[in-house]
Amino acid sequence: MKYPRLLLTVCFAAALIGQTGRDAYRQAYDTWQQAQANLEHDAGTGAAPQVAQADRSAAAAASFEATRLAYLKSSAEDAAQRRQILQAAVTRSSPDLMPPAVADLAAAELQTVTRAIAKFAEDKDRGIQQLRQSMDRERVALAALTDTIKARQQTVAATSAAAAALEQARAKTAAAFGDQTSQVSQTMAQMEMESAAWADYYEKLADAIQIANAPPPPPASVGTAAPRNTSASPVPLVRYVGEWTYPKVNGIFHGAQPESVELEVHEKNGHADGTIDARFRFSPGSGNDPSIKFRFEGDITATPTQKFTLMTSEGTPGTIELIPGPAFNLLEVNFQTDPQANKIRSGNFILLKK
């Protein structure tokens, strides 16, 4: 099941990027702040309600950090995309298309015709005078041409200078944006560390409150106060226990596409049980039953992934895995049942905590 799980993680990241925006992370931040209001103040005297509040705060903090990171990543990707235009050298016209030979040629023609005019200056012959006049018109045309050639030479030089200045500015701006990109990468790395630190903090805070409130051990008993996680699971139980649902939009799944999923998970003394009521989308006429209901149960184990046995409402056995998602309020579910005609046999999707 490694491949689908990886795929789901990638899809989840893509879905998060799709729901980015400052408003999204601000909303998540406000939710977090509301969830953790007065928690530290009440921690000195608090008990079970503060433990639950710490769990809720941890989930809200994780949600905020994930949304914020997704926003930063999406923003950085957009910026990198639009700044691509600064990576290529700017367009400029080729100065090679204005060779000095052009001006030289016009100048040589002008000299030749000017000399010829001078040669015929004193000639009174009517025909020669006509010729001289025509040469004079040619000289005027050449003089004007020489001026426009000079003017074009100046514009070519001006274009080259403007393009050189532009190229220099482009390189400078591209370098400045490069620095900005590396700053954003550092911020993202810092946020990832903060995210882990907040999870650790709330875990320790809840433990500290619970330990302080634990009843003293009975003299005859060997056991100690029940820890918040009565099981050996390295992940807080809040990551599995509760009511979960398949999101109406941007749902993440592999294999059969769920239409709706409702999951309930309960835990008592290290033993979990729960129910799933799911409906899948099948093409009309496929003959498959789109609905499945089952119960599951089993002991919580010392691994992040919890595996339980299940029994469908029609008595078909199978297994289910509950895998904590990339954020506190996400849970990946992966189930398989024994083959049964026209019944769904497996499902893999991510659920959202209600």
Binding site: G18, R22, Y29, Q36, N38, E40, A43, G44, T45, S75, R82, L86, V90, T91, R92, S93, S94, L97, L105, A106, E109, T112, G127, I128, Q130, L131, S134, M135, E138, A141, A144, L145, T148, I149, A151, R152, Q154, T155, V156, A158, T159, A162, A165, L166, K172, T173, A176, F177, Q180, Q183, Q186, T187, M191, E194, A197, W198, K204, A208, I209, I211
Partner: protein, 236 residues
């Protein structure tokens, strides 16, 4: 947005990009053509007068020689015009992109300043949490480990707030650089427009010169014929 819409949009974008790539003229090829036409014209133009001096004025080859050079000149300047038009089109596209980038980066700078404010708010919040927990530790010593962690987190948040401050400053500075860059893009475009106008003016002047040169060749023929008919009349 559902997956089908995403796929459709990507396909449409790709098709548009490909179509644009096909329509983009090959500047290198256009430059090569312009250079070739220039070399052809130069070869004919530089010895036009030498060739004409060896041809009698009314020999049809005299006028043909001027016409040949004139045609080569027009082909050269037309190729140059095509090249400069293509360069300008590409350059103007770049400038439009740079203006769009500036607009996006101005928005980004505003967002960066808002994020800086958000980081400041987070900093204040974590400080408040730290203060509250410090009071609670006095009542419950088991919270000491949590307090230590929260202090570390507060330091991280402060560090990130400082980084956000720096980023907001960098975003503002980048906008200033971009504004200057757009100005330089516009200056390059203006220079290109001037260059194009100058090349068109030169094209008209070369045509004027070759027209004058053709007129001279015709006058040379005319006066030669008058001279010949006068000398014939004298002999009679």
């Amino acid at each position: 947005m559902n997956r089908a819409s995403c796929v459709f949009l990507c396909a449409a974008l790709f098709a548009a990009t490909a179509a644009q790539a096909q329509n983009t003229p090959d500047l290198a090829a256009l430059e090569q053509t312009a250079q070739k036409r220039h070399a052809e014209w130069e070869a004919l133009a530089k010895d036009m007068n030498d060739r004409m001096s060896r041809i009698l004025p009314c020999d049809p080859r005299a006028l043909a020689a001027v016409n040949e050079v004139s045609r080569a000149s027009e082909a050269r300047l037309a190729a140059l015009s095509d090249y400069l038009r293509a360069v300008s089109a590409k350059a103007f596209g770049e400038t439009a992109d740079a203006r769009n980038l500036l607009s996006s980066e101005e928005k980004h700078a505003v967002e960066a300043s808002l994020e800086r404010a958000d980081a400041g708010q987070e900093q204040t919040a974590v400080d408040t949490q730290s203060d509250a927990l410090a009071q609670s530790v006095k009542q419950r010593a088991s919270l000491e480990a949590s307090q230590k962690l929260l202090t570390q987190i507060a330091a991280k948040v402060h560090q990130r707030a400082a980084a956000m401050e720096q980023q907001a400053g960098s975003a503002d500075a980048a906008v200033v650089l971009l504004r200057d860059l757009v100005t330089k893009f516009e200056a390059r475009d203006a220079a290109l427009r001037e260059e194009f106008a100058a090349s068109e003016a030169e094209r008209a002047r070369w045509n004027g010169y070759y027209a004058a040169r053709r007129a001279r060749a015709q006058i040379e023929c005319t006066i030669t014929q008058i001279g010949a008919s006068q000398s014939k009349g004298g002999k009679q």
